[in-house]
Every structure is written in C-alpha cells, then in structure tokens.
C-alpha cells in the first residue's frame, strides 16, 4: 500500500472517529453552528481526499453525506434524529469500505446506490418542492451508469444529474485549481469552503439549477486571460473525468466562455456592483459562513503543530531514553566519588537535560483517555435508538492522560462495560417511570489521577445487578452450591459476574452476547496490574471502579538485600517495613521452623527470602537484625524476611529470559542505577509458592478469583496444631493471644489442676482430653495462650503445625465437648476447637457467674443474631466469659419473634450477611417500631467496606465490629452498655 493511501486511511479513520462524537453532540444541540460547520468540514475533507486519491466509491458516498450536511448547514434541513442516523449510516459505509481498502489496497466492489439514494432523497426532501430531482447516482459514483440523455426541455442542470454532479465536478476541478500556481493569486486569502461553495453555486446556476447564490467578494476579483484559460481547462478536465456527456460538457464550456469578458476584468466597477456571474468560475456563493472560515483556520493551525509519528519509533525512543537514564545514573555515581571533578558542571547539565528528555518522551506516550472513549457516544446513541431507551452519557475527565500501551489495553474492556450498562442496566423509559426515576438513564464515565494510578469509574443509574438471576446462574453453572450461596453476601454473589461464561442477560440482544464477558474485562485489567471493583444496589444502579497504573514501563520498587544479593519488590504491594532483632521488642519467632512475627497483637506469617530462594545459609550472616517487608497480596498479608533494605527506586521493568520464566517468584528484572542487574520479586508468586494462599488450584485466574472472594468468604487464618490422638486441630488464629513454649519441669499441680507461673501470675494449663501427663518431664511444652483481660489460660498441645488461611465450613457438628465440629482444612479433616469450653475448664468461676450471678446482679443481656453456628459457638462463650448473658438466635426473623414475645435485651449484636433477612433489614425492622427501638444494636461482620459501614449507620446500627476482633467486641459492648445505663 502506498504511503499516501495509508496516510489517508489513518487520517480518515481519525476524522470518522471525531465525526461520530460530533454528530451525536449535534443531535443534542441542533443549533450549534460551530459544531455543524466542523462536521461539514470533516465530511468534506474525507470526500475531498477520496476524490484526490481516485476512490470513486468512497467519494460518492461521502459526497451524498456532505450534500445532506450542506443542506443542514444552509438551514434548508433540520437536524433530526433521522438525519443523524442517515449520516451515521453513511459514515459506517465509508468505514467498511475503508476496512476493505486497508486490507486489499484497492477499493472493493459494491453497490452504494441504495444508501446514496436515500441520502439524496433526504437532501431533496428538505426542499419540499423538488420531488422531480430523482436521486440519480452521481456520475462519480457510477461511472458505468448510462449517461443521461440530453432531453430537450430539461435544463442542463437536470440532464447532468443535478447538484450531485455539479458538486463532483467542482470538487475535481477545485482540487486541480488549488494545485495550479497560476491561479494562486486569484483565490489568495479566501477559505477553501468559500471558493468551492462559490464555484459550485455559480456552476449550478449557470446550468439552470437553483439560484442560491448571493453576491460574493470573490466574484469581484479580476483575473488575467491566462488565468481564465487555466480555469476553464480545469473545468473541462473535471467534466471529462466525471464522464459528463460530451454534448453537455460542450454546452457548459460554452456558457463559461461567454462570461469571459466579465471575468477578465473588463469592468471592475460592474463587479463591485456585484452583478451575478462575474468571475471566471463565475459567481455567487452562499452567504459567507464565518464559522466555516474559522474552522478552516483552526485546522491549518493544528495541522502545523502536530505531525504523525510511527508508534514503533516512539517505543524505540523510549527504550533509548531508559538506557540513557541508566547511563546517566552510572555517571553520576562515578562523579560522587570524585568531588572536585571538572566534569561536575557539564554532568549536572547532562543530568537535567536527560531528566527533561525522559519526561518529554514519556509524554509522547501519554494520551488523553478521551481517545479511548471517542467511540462511546456513538455506541450509546445507537444503542438507545435500537433499544428504545433514553440514555445520557456523561464523560468527566477526558483529558486525563495515561500511557498509550495502557490505553490500548483498557479500550475494549471500557467499551464493553459501557455497552453492558446501556444494554442490561439502564431500563426502558417506561420501566424507569414506574420505578420513580427520570426517564432518561445516565451513564457516567469518570477518570482521574490518584497517586500514580488512574481511576476510571463507570457508573449507571440503572436497575443494578439482579441477585436472584445471578444466583440462578451460579447454580446452573455449578459454580457454588445453594448452601454456599446462603452464606454469601450480596457483594460476594455479585462478584460472580466476573466469572467466565457468565452472562445474566436473559435474552441475547444484538448488543449483548458478543462473546466478551466481564471475565475478559477483568482479565485484561488485571493483566496490566489493575484492579476492578463492583458496587451495585438493586434498583439504584451499578458502579464499576477500575484502578490501573499510569504506565507499565516504569514502576517504583523497594530494593532489598538478602545474602548479599539485591532484589526489587514493587512498592505497590509493600505495606510497611519492620525491623526485628533477637533482643528487641519485635523478634522473629518460630513455630516448628515456620517463622512468624507478632505484630500489633497479630501473628504475621513470614517467608524467609533466604530459604525461599535457596540462598546461602543463615549461619553466614553477620548481623542478627532482620528486616521484614510486610507485603499485601489481595487481602492476605505476610512478611518477607530480608537482611537489608535500601531505597525506593524507579525501575524499568524488563521481562526475564524465557528460560527463567518458570520461576514464579520473579516478575521481571531490571538494571539499577549502578548498572547491576537485579531480579524483581513477585509477591503473588511468593505467596503462592509458600502454599499459604493457593488452595489447590494452580490456575492463576482461579487463584485471583479465590483471593478476591476470600475477601468475603470468611477465609480466616487458622492455627493448625496436633494434640492427643485423632485429627489435627485448628483454632482461629485471632483468638490466640500468644504461642509459648514452657519448660515442662516448671509445670505444677495446684488444686488438682495444672498451672504454670506466667508473667507473674498463675496460668492454668488445660490439656486436651487423653493428653498424657507431662509434669516433671524434661523438655519444652508448646502452649497456646488464650487471654482475656487479666486472665490467661494455656492449652497444651503436641506440636504447632502451621498457619493456614482457609474457609471455615464446619461440616460436622461435634459431639465431644471442646469441639465445635470438623472442617476440611488444608485438605484434611480437622477438629475445630471450642475455646469457650476450655476457658470454662480453666476458670470455672467465669462460667459459674453466668449461671449464678446473672440472677443476682443487674443482668447485661445480649442478644446475638448470627446464622453461622460456628460464630455463635465461638463468640457466645467468650462473651459469657466476659460477663454477659448471651442469648443466640440464628435469624433475624426469630429475633423479631422474640421481640414480639416481649423479651428484653440490653444490647443486640447482629451479623450482616444472613440468608433471608440480612442484618440491615433486621436493624431497620427493629428501629422502625416495637419496644426494641431504643436497644443499641451492633453490626458484626467479617468484612468492613466503607460502603457497608455507611449503610450500616444509615439503617440504624450504633456501632460496628469485626467478627474476629474479640477484644474490640467486648470493649464496644461495655461502652454501649454503659452509655445505655448512663442515659437511663
């Protein structure tokens, strides 16, 4: 394909994209003259270029479109949706022809007469009076068509095919005229539109067509004989090109020559008086259109300011600049060693110039996100027509810039999402009216920068995600069981739309079911290191929030050292840095060789980089201090143990060689400022290979899904241990205050119980049943310490196995006291320990108080509503232990029944996610009426998104506490109760 053609394709494609947007705008603001002239100009440019390149099919289609637009511009036609649809159809045809053109290099064969006919009919229809002007194919469009016969009586205008032909002739001629230096002086200073319009109208009039012309300044310009001849030559050539029948051409030329006298300036005075045909290409133009002139000026201004550059060239530039930056860094490093070097000043300058160069080149890669949105108004418009909906598309932050590469990657996902919103989310006007919403639905796109990231929101005010439909689909596809669904929050269920093959569209419309699902959207976004979040309220609307990095090429990374080797950890996954030393407050402890760190009352699982990467042995270390990089993957936090931590550096990520790609723990490599090559660690990979996250499914996408679902699925860290016979045991890590190993010979008998002196107090030790007597024996005894205020108790175990993150589904309720039940954890049947039972064993008096004291002292009655037996069993004993009298029910309905029955409580704790009536509904019901109206109610949930918190408050929850925050719960309970008392 020759350069000219490919240039044309690029340019025209751009123009078409702009046209789509502008036309939709025009439809909304039919009176915007600027807009209209711009559109006209663009279509005109397309047409003109086609003619120049000899693409008759394209030209004829564009021409017909321009015709309609011209009429609109001249006020003969109104901007109606019908007109816009027609023009858009015309643009689509151009686009499809261009597609073929691009593929084959030649214009494809095809028949556009139908389209042109309707365009022409529309154009003429505007001039009510001319039904006779049958939409003849323009000669340009159908050169093969039989030339119209010269009929006596008909004007030349009609014979040649009306305005269409005149236009085409002028177009061809005009292109020639513009290239003719001899004629330059004649038209100097006039806008192209003016000159062309003038020529067209004059020619039309001369041939007997409608006289739309008005006096025009061009008309008054004199020209020499030579110029006139040249002009006539061009006209003759144009007539020939368009195969206007000889006879007619001759007549036209005759008429033109007849005007020679006037044209060549015999009478300037007359010209000034503006008698119609004066000039060479005689006379008349539409009343000067100021806007058109302005548009032209703008175009040339822009044209002069920008050039087209091949993307590959930019990419190369980028690579070169990256290397220049690295070299610069190296040089600067050398300079630092030689303080007084004479190179200092020039190098400083080099430094600045390089920085600026880097910035500049980065900028060339940045594009406004509006480029990715350009197609959307058109899509929405078409959809709303097709689906008979009213939709407003609001775009905010179009100018927000991001890397070209990233832009390309999100273009399709965004388009898909917007299309989805229009198709599935926004209701018909009828439905919206019934739902009490404005008839016109709104889709808002909002883009903005936020700390090195760009956030793009796609918001609609449609019907939201239909939970029951999603549920049905989940069941149908066997993605989850009914029981599992029961336990899921709305938000969790909504997440399923990101699953492969998941479409909730009940029917396949022409817009949905295109084989692209939200799973592809999600995959594409995650591919570039982005995340997508979803919030949807049924009946209110849906918000998708996409967070993506500004650029892929350069990331900020923390450089660390381990065993004298350096590694980079992407800053985005680093939460904090902790320094641990054997003597300090924070120290690394080991559970059977698994290192952990107590960090703010939680056990943080640690990964030793040294062991993970099989670096040299620990014993070779010089310092005892360990730095821990606390890292977050999804919702899972763990620490990476390293020897040293250096600075944060901006690094250029380069992919690793194919032979190293199988190493999961690296995501790439890079060259540091000093020229050394280091590997970039991939926290996802480290977590996955540490076996702490992966749950048996190797597929990355699945892992991602699991990880994000774990967010809501109550996957909790569990401490696995062995004690006595039978299955391994587990207890939620959050309940464990400490892990201790005590000397067995310090264990004493007191009052028939085992105790040990611990932190200046006697701590009861409770063995699991069948646990052998170890008192007096040698060695160390591992103990799980459960603690509540000033009471502590130790549960004696054989061995602490691991800390795993797992979903707690108690499959079998236990009959043995001290067990809540059995669950499958890490692929093994595991007993879940009922800490409450052991607490009661250790402190019989605590639980005694529940039975005895509550009668005596003013009872603090707490009602706990939670559908999960596990949590009821877990929390109730603890609350009892803390001195509350706890009643539990498993649903909001049952709780309301109790309210009806007149039961009294001082406080209610309610789970949020419950099947049937959820916590919000329950709370609302209580706060609405009844004698529980003033009872404080506390929300209990395993996930606390800000939205949920806000919603909780709005329905009347007094406070909120996380499910595993036992101390927090007790604290809040006490606080809430004291407030109640104070108030009473």
């Amino acid at each position: 394909m020759d350069d000219l053609l490919s240039e044309f394709l690029t340019e025209t494609n751009e123009n078409l994209a702009v046209l789509d947007v502008e036309l939709v705008k025009l439809e909304q603001n039919p009176n915007d003259i600027d807009l209209l002239s711009n559109i006209f100009r663009l279509v005109h440019t397309v047409k003109g270029t086609c003619g120049f390149l000899g693409l008759p099919r394209l030209e004829s289609v564009a021409h017909a479109g321009e015709n309609v637009l011209g009429k609109v511009r001249d006020g003969e036609l109104e901007v109606t949706p019908q007109a816009v649809t027609l023009i858009l159809a015309c643009l689509d045809r151009i686009r499809s022809i261009m597609g073929d053109l691009e593929a084959s290099g030649t214009e494809p064969a095809g028949d556009d007469s139908e389209l042109i006919k309707s365009l022409n009919a529309f154009a003429d229809g505007g001039k009510a009076a001319a039904p006779a002007a049958a939409p003849a194919p323009t000669p340009a469009a159908a050169p093969a068509a039989p030339a119209p016969e010269v009929k006596s009586g008909a004007s030349i205008y009609e014979q040649i095919g009306g305005m269409g032909t005149v236009d085409a002739v002028v177009e061809v001629m005009f292109n020639r005229v513009m290239g003719d230096l001899r004629l330059k002086s004649v038209f100097e200073g006039d806008s192209i539109d003016h000159v062309q319009g003038y020529m067209r109208e004059h020619l039309a009039k001369m041939c007997g067509g409608p006289d739309t012309s008005a006096p025009h300044p061009i008309a008054g310009r004199a020209m020499s004989d030579e110029q006139f001849d040249a002009l006539c030559g061009h006209l003759q050539a144009a007539l020939n090109t368009l195969e206007v029948p000889q006879q007619i051409a001759a007549m036209i030329m005759g008429m033109v020559y007849a005007g020679r006298e006037e044209a060549t300036g015999s009478a300037p005075a007359i010209v000034e008086a503006a008698p119609p045909p004066v000039e060479a290409k005689p006379v008349k133009a539409a009343a000067p259109k100021k806007e058109a002139g302005d548009g032209e000026a703008k175009e040339s201004a822009i044209a002069n300011q920008s050039i087209r550059v091949n993307v590959e060239l930019l990419e190369n530039l980028m690579t070169m600049v990256s290397e220049l930056v690295l070299t610069r860094n190296q040089v600067l490093q050398i300079l630092r060693k030689h303080k007084d070097s004479e190179f200092a000043a020039p190098l400083q300058r080099l430094n600045h110039v390089t920085s600026e160069l880097q910035e500049g080149v980065m900028k060339t890669r940045m594009q406004p996100i509006g480029n990715a949105w350009a197609k959307l108004p058109r899509i929405i418009r078409d959809l709303s027509h097709e689906l008979k909906k009213k939709i407003d598309l609001v775009m905010i932050g179009q100018e927000t810039e991001l890397d070209r590469q990233v832009l390309e990657m999100i273009k399709d996902p965004l388009t898909h999402m917007v299309r989805n919103s229009a198709d599935h989310a926004i209701e018909t006007p009828e439905e919206r009216r019934r739902a009490g919403k404005p008839e016109t639905g709104k889709i808002t796109l909002n883009a903005y920068h936020e700390g090195g990231h760009i956030i793009i929101e796609v918001v609609d005010d449609g019907k939201g995600l239909a939970l029951d439909k999603i549920k049905a689909k989940i069941l149908q596809n066997n993605l989850a069981t009914e029981a599992e669904l029961e336990n899921m929050s709305d938000q969790q269920i909504q997440q399923y739309i990101f699953k492969a093959g998941f479409s909730t569209a009940a029917k396949v419309t022409s817009v949905s079911g295109r084989g692209v699902g939200m799973d592809v959207v999600r995959t594409n976004i995650e591919k570039i290191g982005g995340t997508i979040e979803l919030r949807s309220v049924e009946g209110k609307g849906t918000t998708f929030s996409i967070k993506i990095p500004l650029t892929l090429a350069i990331v900020s990374a923390l450089v660390v050292e381990c065993a004298n080797e350096r590694f980079a950890i992407p800053q985005i996954s680093v939460v904090e840095l902790v320094r641990a030393s054997p003597t300090g407050e924070l120290k690394v402890e080991r559970i059977n060789d698994t290192p952990v760190l107590r960090l703010r009352n939680k056990l943080l699982p640690l990964v030793s980089l040294r062991e993970k990467l099989k670096l040299e042995a620990e014993s070779d270390r010089s310092s005892d201090d360990t730095f821990i990089v606390v890292t977050q993957v999804g919702t899972y936090q763990f620490g990476i143990m390293v020897d040293r931590v250096f600075d944060t550096e901006e690094i250029v990520v380069k992919p690793v060689a194919p032979i190293l790609r199988h190493i999961e723990v690296f995501s790439g490599n890079t060259i540091l400022g000093d020229g050394s090559v280091i590997m970039i660690l991939d926290p996802n990979g480290i977590a996955a290979t540490s076996g702490q996250i992966s749950m048996g499914d190797a597929e990355q996408a699945e892992k991602q899904a699991l990880r994000s679902r774990a967010h809501g699925d109550e996957a909790v860290p569990l401490l696995l241990f062995r004690a006595g016979q039978g299955a391994p045991k587990a207890v939620p890590l959050a309940l464990v205050a400490r892990l201790e190993e005590i000397e067995r010979n310090t264990i004493e008998h007191s009052n028939d119980r085992l105790v040990v002196q611990y932190r200046g107090q006697l701590m009861p030790l409770v063995p699991l049943e069948g646990y052998p007597d170890v008192t007096g024996k040698e060695g160390r005894q591992p103990v799980l310490v459960f603690s509540d205020r000033d009471h502590s108790m130790g549960l004696m175990v054989d061995e602490i196995v691991d800390i795993v993150e797992a979903k707690l589904n108690v499959d079998l309720a236990a009959e043995t006291p001290g067990r809540i039940g059995s669950a499958i954890i890490a692929g093994q049947a595991t007993d879940i320990i009922d800490t409450g039972f052991f607490l009661s064993q250790a402190f019989a008096d605590w639980f005694g108080s529940r039975h005895d004291d509550t009668v005596g002292r003013k009872s603090r009655r707490v009602l706990m509503v939670d559908d999960s037996a596990f949590f009821r069993n877990l929390l109730a004993p603890q609350l009892s232990a803390a001195g509350f009298s706890v009643t539990t029910v498993d649903s909001g309905d049952k709780a309301l029944e109790m309210a009806e029955a007149g039961e009294q409580f001082d406080l209610i704790i309610s789970d949020i996610e419950m099947p049937g009536m959820d916590g919000f509904a329950f709370c609302e019901a209580i706060k609405k009426s009844g004698h529980w109206q003033n009872t404080p109610i506390i929300a209990l949930s395993s996930h606390a998104s800000p939205q949920e918190l806000a919603k909780g408050r709005s329905v009347g929850f007094d406070d909120y506490v996380a499910k595993y925050d036992r101390e927090g719960l007790v604290h809040i309970l006490n606080e809430a109760l004291s407030e109640v008392r104070g108030a009473a």
Binding site: L326, E565, L613, A657, I663, S676, V677, M679
Partner: protein, 167 residues
Amino acid sequence: MSGMKNGAGSEFSAATSAASGEQRDYVTMSIGDQMFGIPVLTVQDVLGPQNIARVPLAPPEVAGSLNLRGRIVTAIDVRPRLGLPTREGGKSAMSVVVEHDGELYSLLVDSVGEVLSLNSRDYQRNPPTLNPRLREFSDGIYRLNGSLLVVLSVGSLLDFGTRPEVA
C-alpha cells in the same frame, strides 16, 4: 559485531583465497582442552570477565544475568550445559554474546580465540561415537592442523524449551 576484539580475520582471508571449497568464518573458543567454534555472523559481542548477577532458583546452566549496554543478557555457562565439570575456582570466564529468538544470551567459555576461516573440505559430520550429550549440541567437526574444532549449535544450546527443569 561491534566490540569484536578479534582482528584475525584478515590474516586468514589471504591464506584461504587459494583454497577450493566453501570458506566459513568461525569464532573459536575453548573449554578445557577442546576447541569449539560458532559461525561468526551469529556472534554479537565478545566480552571479557563480567559482573554476572546470579539468578536464584535458575537452572544450573544459567550463570546469571549481565548488563550489556542497557540490555539484560542471560549468561549460559556452557560447561554444565555440555555436561562438563565446572570451571576451577578463580578462573574467570569469557562471554560470547549471541541472539536467539530476539533475546540476548551470553555463552560463558574458558577463553575466546581468533576468528578462523575454515574450508568445507575439512568439515565432517559428528562421528557416531561422539559423547551423546556433546552430539546434541554439535553441528559437526572441522579437522584443523593438530586439533579438532567442534561446531556448536547455538540453537540447540539455547533451546531449553522442552526440558521442564526446575531447580
């Protein structure tokens, strides 16, 4: 070819013009006592001892990565690749940089010699008795004056694809 330190080519071109048969240029290198060669046009660079950053968990043949004018080059130690014992401690290796599938690799050998222009008359296929490991990476043998030169196949040397070897 930039960075080629070896100017021996011209010297040989004069000597070989008289010979019949096809002439081919090879960069010679040695590992232990054995001489190897690879076609000169596949070689991008010859480097002296370099700072090579080890890559943890990499297969044993991968010595690490190095920085060649801003590009990251994966260093492949040819000794373990050929099943030979590792280089004695303290001896530094030289690198021959080649491109394979758009990636740069540096082949670590004991030393790099001159460029030889060899005549196809002196070429023969691998003797059937050749060590199977070596045969896998050898494209044939040149008989030189007093020694033999094994032509290394860069393609198979760098084709790790089918071996799912995880260290």
